[in-house]
Subunit: 100 residues, 2 copies
């Protein structure tokens, strides 16, 4: 298994707006080969932002990588980049192999 | 749900040794109220270390917090701190509420 995480810094006070974007987002993930599950998770509040992480689990890194090259990926991200003042900086990606 | 992650920096070349510690570790987690699952996940190789994260999922933050005060927690951690040269620095904890 493989876990893909994207870390977002969300401006203080804009958390509900950010969560609404994700709640209403069409991800087109359910029919993607190897996709297992998705969560949006909320971390610590810091001085200027709240940490959020998009957290998806895949059968393999290869399945995840194939998805990033698919038309479903382009469809899911075509609205990304709007609402710019919600975000402090770009999201930071990290991928993890499940060892145990 | 709540996800607890502890991030480790493992010295290059010591990855197998670190994974063996976790494979052989008795976590005493299965009977802990609210515990859902555990994974050890492996991230990027950097210049001096490889990133690993211990990743556990709980019914609630409260269940996780209760576990950290339990005798099961003390039992699972009584050997922690050995093999010091495997680790670069202390692990960094982050906890996340599952929003979606």
């Amino acid at each position: 298994m493989y876990i893909a995480m994207n870390r977002f810094k969300i401006a203080l006070g804009r958390e509900n707006e950010f969560e609404k974007i994700w709640k209403e987002r069409e991800t087109y993930l359910d029919d993607v080969p190897g996709f297992l599950n998705f969560h949006l998770i909320k971390g610590e509040k810091r001085e200027l932002h709240t940490v959020y992480v998009s957290h998806s689990t895949w059968r393999s890194q290869c399945d995840f990588s194939n998805w990033t090259k698919s038309k479903e990926f382009r469809s899911a991200h075509k609205k990304a980049g709007g609402n710019k003042t919600v975000y402090l900086g770009h999201p930071i990606f990290e991928g993890f192999e499940v060892v145990l």
